[in-house]
């Protein structure tokens, strides 16, 4: 209970920091570049939350999460470029159309990949998810007429957010940032709720001992499919948000590099903690960017950091903080 309260404060504190972030640009503390970088970090946060549900809580470590991010990105982009202008819809609805398609497409992909890959475990699961991701990457790369091939899909129009009695222009960087932040906060609340639910208990049971979970009477595969779907949908949503931010989608969004980055971020920050992977994403993208302005071989530092956490704190940065907390306040968990 004490830990729950502590976490509540950390969550609110971090959210407040994120909400105040644009202030720094207004006051001229940092360049607009860091502002858009932060938008990207929050967007990746949505994908990382979803990845953690599957990888951290359930033990389904996939090497193909970029598949969902990329599909979500292309889905939103293609709808806005090819479909939306022909429909004669109010442009205020384009946003919902685009993100809805991202969610739908990634959901279908998660169902299909989940159906095929979740029959396997361990390294076979890793390879299968990697293969599906790379398959989609090669399709996006080669299908010039549809996806724009290696040039990417360009010319995604700016959209606005239309709600009853409210219209926000998302072309404004600040407005878009807050929109993304709201989506992130809702996703976080959803994931937190899920991991505290009876379903969440089953997920951790599967991670801890899949066989015994089945012997207690739980149809393990069903829950794996459900969490994989949820994970994929959040990835797709993040992809859609990313496409809207960038105004284009490149095949890189489907590449295994991104899947690898997701894994790194997750373990760096603290797998199975929800906050951790998001924090890991921040460190990897933000500190990484800052380091890269100092010297070219900045990834050495990131690599050493990663090695350190894997060796000394399996729960990453959050695990380190938790250990420190216990040492300070005793083990009254």
């Amino acid at each position: 209970m004490k830990q729950d309260n502590a976490r509540r404060w950390v969550e609110l504190g971090l959210l407040a920091l994120l909400a105040l972030w644009p202030l720094g640009t207004t006051l001229g503390w940092y360049s607009p570049f860091y502002f858009s970088l932060m938008t990207r970090i929050v967007i990746f946060g949505v994908a990382l939350l979803g990845y953690d549900l599957a990888a951290g809580y359930t033990g389904l470590v996939s090497f193909g999460h970029a598949l969902f991010i990329g599909l979500g990105g292309y889905a939103a982009g293609l709808v806005l470029v090819k479909l939306a202008p022909t429909l004669g819809l109010d442009p205020g609805l384009w946003l919902w159309l685009a993100l809805g398609t991202s969610v739908l497409v990634s959901a279908v992909a998660a169902v299909v990949v989940g159906f095929l890959a979740l029959r396997t475990r361990g390294i076979y699961f890793v390879f299968l998810t990697l293969a599906f991701g790379q398959f989609a990457y090669l399709v996006a790369w080669n299908w010039l007429g549809f996806t724009g091939g290696d040039n990417g899909l360009t010319g995604i129009p700016q959209v606005s957010l239309a709600l009853p009695g409210l219209r926000l222009e998302l072309s404004d960087a600040g407005t878009y940032y807050y929109f993304v932040l709201v989506v992130f906060a809702l996703s976080y609340a959803l994931c937190r709720r899920v991991v505290q639910s009876p379903f969440g208990r089953i997920l951790v049971g599967i991670e801890q001992n899949e066989k015994r979970t089945a012997y207690l009477g739980y149809p393990v595969i069903r829950y794996k499919r459900r969490v994989f779907l949820l994970s994929g949908v959040l990835g797709g949503l993040a992809g859609g948000l990313y496409a809207l931010l960038q105004g284009f989608v490149s095949p890189d969004l489907l590449h295994w590099h991104l899947s690898g980055d997701i894994i790194l971020m997750t373990w760096l920050g603290g797998v199975g903690t929800l906050i951790g992977p998001v924090l890991g994403g921040f460190i990897y993208l933000f500190v990484g960017n800052w380091l890269s302005t100092l010297f070219a071989r900045w990834q050495i530092v990131m690599g050493l950091l990663f090695v350190f956490f894997v060796l000394f704190s399996p729960r990453g940065m959050v695990g380190l903080v938790q250990q420190g907390w216990r040492r300070l306040w005793g083990s009254s968990t």
């Binding site: 208990r201 089953i202 049971g205 015994r212 089945a214 207690l216």
Partner: protein, 254 residues
């Protein structure tokens, strides 16, 4: 289910044969178990006792034969399906959720009997009726004092009790215990015997056991296995008096 079949034996194993390649692990095993009747399966290592458990609980299907549980054919069903029907098992080697506390281990087992067991949005902290049941099970297996310790940090004896507690917490109609006293010190064995006796009042037991003190103190019937076949079955007295059994198995203890 079960309502229509109150008179059916709780478990019926019918000509079950299990082959692994050339090896015949079970050879046409036949037996029945009535409700409220506790049966022990004894036999030397390699006799096929655990294989029989694995066939009954759905780990793998038999090569031939059928398994009936409360009048329903459960042959070849997956383990979770069989467990949902009310057939639970404990394992010979501890098979727990190592990073869960003893409390959380039992929680997950208790949860399976609740209508919202797979709800994604209910907060588990706000389910007092479940909490009560978890403590009842912990009390029954004498683990209240260590309830908040992680399973992997418990003493071996406590882990064995938790192993039983997990199966018990699913509120089964039939409980299969695979060597509940294996690896336990003689001093702790008495505690385990008492535990098994108290459980046997609530649920029908089928247990594999080497310790004859345990067998004699809980079993109404004994099934003796030898090289994958049933050598003898009957009341403890009948089995003890059986010359074949004396030669093949009990003889070792005299």
């Amino acid at each position: 289910m079960g309502v229509l079949n109150v008179n059916a034996p709780v478990l019926r194993v019918e000509k079950v044969t299990k082959r692994f390649g050339e090896l015949v692990a079970l050879q046409s095993v036949n037996f029945e178990l009535q409700r409220g009747q506790n049966q022990a399966i004894i036999g030397p290592n390699g006799a096929g006792k655990t294989t029989l458990f694995n066939v009954i609980t759905g780990e793998f299907p038999p090569s031939e034969g059928r398994v009936w549980f409360q009048g329903h054919d459960i042959t070849g069903l997956p383990p979770h399906h069989i467990a949902q029907h009310g057939l639970a098992r404990s394992f010979q080697l501890n098979n727990l959720f190592p990073d869960f506390t003893a409390y959380d281990n039992v929680w997950l087992a208790v949860q399976i009997r609740h209508p919202w067991r797979e709800s994604m949005f209910r907060n588990t902290r706000r389910l007092p009726e479940l909490d009560e049941q978890v403590w009842r099970v912990l009390e029954q297996v004498h683990l209240e004092a260590v309830a908040l310790q992680r399973a992997c940090e418990l003493s071996y004896g406590d882990q064995r009790h938790l192993e039983i507690g997990l199966a018990l917490a699913t509120q089964p109609q039939l409980l299969l215990l695979d060597e509940p006293t294996s690896g336990i010190s003689p001093a702790e064995t008495q505690k385990t015997i008492e535990l098994i006796q108290s459980i046997s009042k609530e649920v029908t037991l089928l247990l594999i056991e080497h310790d004859m003190d345990v067998v004699m103190s809980v079993a109404d019937r004994i099934l003796v296995m030898h090289y994958g076949s049933v050598l003898a079955q009957g009341t403890p007295e009948q089995v003890e008096a059986n010359p074949e059994v004396q030669e093949a198995y009990l003889g070792d203890f005299r």
